[in-house]
Subunit: 304 residues, 2 copies
């Protein structure tokens, strides 16, 4: 194997958690999961020029992000991550240095969340960098929180400020694993998603999957990140629009009963109640005078 | 989502097996595995120009191969496949037609082996086609066959003829799932791998992982595929060299006691006993006169 075999490097440095029966180095990894728990599986592929720009982002940041976005999906189900496999297509000319950085970033993120790196596939080619990670997690039976459980009358919550992540924050994904655990212990979370495409787009996913529901958002309650203001000085867009539509915030967006607000706030200090679910398939925003107007998601489309 | 969203298409057409609690459409899939079993995980990434050439291979063939090589890894552990997730980077210009073919190929292979397609990630870009699949399988505790169990004195077996797969056969992967199940029911299989890099390379993996062992192969016992002869008329290489070094045969290579030969042959009619494991780290080939000479693997290197 070449010096830039990312997977061989990870094998040398990796220390497995208690779930790993057999790690990197065979045809498959072997895992022992918690008896009786359900298995969670998620996969995300990141491509140079699409989800990062190699040169602007370091390989280490890219490695962290590649694992981070997958962990964020586990968080969105209120699951606990267990193991990950990594497949990469490395640009041949700089494969060694890129593999170095990816490894460091992936392993930092993995150890921060107790995730074992148990397998992968390294390839070199003349194309741009592609990295694809699959994470396996687990949850108590029936306790994983789906997108489809929102009910008319639910309050809509978000765990932190939004918008402008493209300035830099999108490379510093902070998967809300622990926050999700705290939220589901504090109250009955009906539906949840992580904000990757943008608040409005991801809210639309919840509403659609919950049976063509709608929502009214209160414009004054949308938490706007400092980066969204920064972004608006660059591109002239309104900070609120950045908060509503910029993707890759990786905060949790969820619905629960209005009455659970205090309980949820107690475990998630940055929590904001931003609106309510309605039983007609309309997405509306309410200004401080109580006037409602329709809004259309313009968030990130991976197929654009 | 665009019309060429591969994952949305798979969602519409997919029918899950009994393990699927929640399929495509949420942040993660939810699976219920067989209680007490161990989990197997494997991942493989295929890139245009590297593992196939789009135009020479149809998207349908590429889809079949992408899932097939992963299933072959599950077979190599004598595991049963359960579910798969698929991530793709589609060339923007032809994304629709490519997604169509990939879907057909992946689903054909999935239904042939009872594998549920439970998640994925579709992206479009200006680069070449990349497809990365992760398969989850299972095995009874302690029953997955590793690469590391070969012992000096073991016989070395291969399940079918080798060489020349690049002519066409590499696009028609036949994962030996059922064959592996039959072999481990018939006898104690000590170490196993699927032939992807080439017989000598993959045998070296077994010998290395089993503790720096070696092997003597009998040249007259190596099963040579008709394609290897065909290939030799094209490139002038000896058919035996093709059988020893060409990759992507996806037959099973394993070791077991000499005394188990008949038992194994009874369940695998194309089985050939090709040599024996020795306790020194040398790879030797023995001709029909009994003369032994060292051989060096020159198989496929994914980092070349």
């Amino acid at each position: 194997m070449g010096e830039f075999d990312l997977i061989a490097r990870i094998r040398e440095a990796a220390s497995g958690n208690g779930n790993v029966v057999l790690g990197i180095g065979d045809d498959c990894a072997i895992l022992k999961m918690t008896p009786g728990y359900e298995l969670l599986v998620t996969t995300d592929m990141l491509m140079d020029g699409r989800h990062f720009v190699l040169g602007q982002a370091t390989p280490e940041q890219i490695g962290r992000k590649a694992l981070g976005v997958n962990l964020s999906d586990i968080a969105a189900m209120a699951g606990m991550p267990v193991a990950a496999v990594v497949a990469v297509a490395l640009p041949r000319n700089d494969a060694d240095q890129i593999a170095d950085g990816l490894q460091a970033g992936i392993q930092e993120m993995a150890s921060r969340f107790g995730v074992s790196l148990v397998g992968g596939d390294t390839n070199a080619w003349d194309g741009p960098l592609v990295i694809s990670i699959t994470v396996i997690g687990e949850a108590k039976p029936g306790r994983a929180v789906r997108r489809s459980g929102a009910k008319p009358g639910d309050a809509i919550f978000v765990t932190g400020p939004l918008g402008g992540s493209l300035l830099c924050r999108h490379l510093d994904v902070r998967p809300r694993i622990r926050e999700a655990q705290l939220l589901v212990s504090a109250a009955n979370v009906h539906a949840m998603i992580d904000i990757s495409d943008g608040l409005l787009s991801d809210l639309s996913h919840i509403l659609e999957e919950s049976g063509r529901l709608g929502a009214i958002l209160d414009s004054s309650e949308i938490p706007i990140h400092a980066d969204a203001y920064e972004m608006s000085t660059v591109d002239g867009g309104a900070p609120l629009d950045h908060a509503l539509n910029d993707g890759e915030d990786f905060e949790l967006l969820f619905t629960a009963s209005f009455g659970d607000y205090e309980r949820l706030l107690a475990v998630a200090p940055a929590l904001r109640r931003i609106g309510e679910v309605i039983d007609t398939p309309n997405l509306l925003i309410r200004d401080t005078d109580g006037r409602k107007s329709p809004i259309i998601p313009s968030g990130f489309d991976h197929l654009r």
